[in-house]
Symmetry: C2
Subunit: 364 residues, 2 copies
């Protein structure tokens, strides 16, 4: 059979620990489902900086371009806080996103029934929550020029540029509409068209793509500040949310926290199809590198494992395998398996990172 | 005695109704506390557009510059949704902010004990919540140039510019530190210094002002996406939050919604002291114009009344009067007076906008 090429970049902090559990899952699918993965490994973030003075080497970048999918753990940590902007761990991640042209960042915010009480929101507000934020990832204020710190009239001024072209907006809108068709069929687009011209263009292009190509999908528009409110007030009103890079960064984190269990949430960043028909793709958990608990076997590997499930679905069209892996996760949660981050007020004994991985394998 | 000059701009939707209740409160203070208010009234937003084709006339702008304080109701409505960007109701508000140089927007998010169950968050997460967001209001991406929709390489591109000078950052930082000194003494500054150079400068300047002038205040820094998460997870960890115009727009709305009762939240926008020592100032409720309920006597006047209480405190140094007015509001809430927006699942009979105003006057 065809083999799937994967580049694993564990990164910093708890990245290597959670990735070790994904390795077990990959092995299981190879042993039991006749899949073939061609796995290589590389450095990103602080780990890459330590090894060769840059948060992503050109070799690793080239490898990432060549594989079917990249799996990333997490980047960053206090050790790197005072590095120059240009070599901060985050730059490695941003370089991957930009050079692979991963324009559509999919961030599901799903509330697992067994964990609904972890949310700071009332159970009846978040139970069954299942929204998907589609964030534009390769443009906007993250990458716009001019940018930098300049001197003007005797003082410094910090400048960044929010920039969106019609085609950049159109392609992420199409991604959102395509995803909505496989879900509840509703897209809400968020910007600040009342204040920003880039938001006016955003709204106009999303509406046009809708009217011309996706009239079957329900489209609404919301100002991003109201969007933040509505996510807090009644998040279940949403199906798919599409928004720009910066709003997406903030709103998807707010949405993630609604579920109360950040250690559970995966993400996929997708680009255009490569020559083999598979999209350029990078998968990573939403949680950070959590340096405070790194190396102690306390980290929750589920977000990273579910990121691999997204890879099965979006890169390899192995929908059944993805479903099975997700079901295995739900099963162990329903059985009460909990890593330290999932300890509620009722207490209990947490299991380790690797024990959680083993439980999921057993459930498969 | 000295008289206080006030310009009242009721604006659109429920603006006029809630402002009518503030008028009663003003009358009460004149009749019972020997204060003298010199009140004028003008148009803003859609109401101003209807009257003279612009969302704020030059005359009204000049009046706003001349008075001690402006009280604004709300602007906007579906009737004006398709107006050109340059004459949208919001532009009237933005012009006031910019030309009066109201750089510090104070948005308290306070959870009233009697209303804690209205929050979508659990009572134990929000009970007693009392945070103050200080948002920069006259710069950043709201006003930065270049901006607009241009054509490049045969397609349109929407551009806005995020721009902050050292002095713009310094003055809003000082406002936040000054306010923190009168509160719990803690400031958390939020930006995206990991991605934006304007955020790097922001962080650096806030730290410098702290170290040189406010070492007694506790200062921390947080990325804005994490800030959004932390507001949802555990909002009571914050005392004062200081952030830029766009992050402030989104984060303050999220914070407002944590309290569950938007109809309760006031705001103040302050500039530099005028010749008479009073700061340039505009006060307005956080809620919008709510066109769906306008003219029905259903609106909650409390946010607007509490905005006037902020005027008493920050413009007129009438701290006792402000305290009394706030206490009157708490009292009527504790007694069970509820406008329609404050009807919980337990039901009850809502009172009208004007009945709520009367109750507050009676409690004074
Ligand atoms: C680490 C950082 C650069 C990144 C971002 O701002 O995009 C992160 O917050 C995210 O959302 O993936
Ligand atoms: C009405 C709009 C222009 C305004 C803003 O974006 O600042 C509003 O959302 C606010 O927060 O006061």
């Amino acid at each position: 059979t065809d083999s799937y090429s994967l580049l694993i970049l564990p990164g910093d902090g708890i990245g290597p620990e959670v990735m070790a559990e994904v390795r077990k899952v990959i092995d299981w699918f190879q042993a039991n489902r006749g899949m073939r993965f061609d796995v290589s490994e590389g450095l990103v973030g602080g780990a890459a900086y330590d090894a060769h003075g840059a948060p992503l080497s050109d070799e690793t970048m080239a490898q990432a371009q060549a594989v079917d999918a990249v799996l990333l753990g997490a980047v960053g940590g206090p050790k790197y806080d005072n590095l120059d902007f240009s070599v901060k761990p985050e730059r490695g991640l941003l370089r991957l996103r930009k050079e692979m042209d991963l324009f559509a960042n999919l961030r599901p915010a799903q509330c697992f029934d067994a964990l609904a009480d972890f949310s700071s929101l009332k159970r009846d507000v978040v139970a069954g929550l299942d929204i998907l934020i589609v964030r534009e990832l390769t443009s906007g204020v993250y990458f716009g020029e001019p940018r930098g710190i300049f001197t003007e009239n005797g003082e410094r001024v910090g400048i960044n540029t929010q920039r969106y072209t019609e085609s950049e907006i159109a392609r992420v809108a199409r991604a959102a509409f395509d995803l909505a068709r496989k879900r509840a069929g509703r897209v809400c687009s968020m910007e600040k068209a009342n204040v920003m011209e880039s938001g006016i263009l955003w709204r106009e292009v999303v509406q046009k793509i809708h009217d011309e190509e996706y009239a079957d999908v329900e489209l609404s528009h919301m100002y991003a500040d109201n969007g933040a409110m509505q996510l807090v007030r009644n998040p279940r009103q949403f199906d798919v949310i599409v928004t720009d890079n910066l709003f997406g960064d903030i709103l998807s984190d707010a949405a993630a926290m609604l579920t109360g269990s950040l250690g559970m949430l995966p993400s996929a960043s997708l680009g255009a199809p490569a020559a083999n028909g598979r999209p350029k793709a990078l998968y990573e958990p939403v949680h950070g590198s959590a340096p405070d608990i790194a190396g102690q076997g306390k980290a929750n590997p589920i977000a990273c494992i579910l990121s691999f499930a997204m890879a099965l679905r979006y890169s390899f069209a192995e929908a059944q395998a993805a479903d099975d892996l997700e079901a295995a996760v739900e099963k162990v949660l329903a059985e009460g398996a909990r890593t330290a981050d999932l300890m509620g007020p009722e207490g209990g004994t947490p299991i380790s990172t690797s024990a959680m991985g083993d439980r999921i394998i057993a459930a498969l």
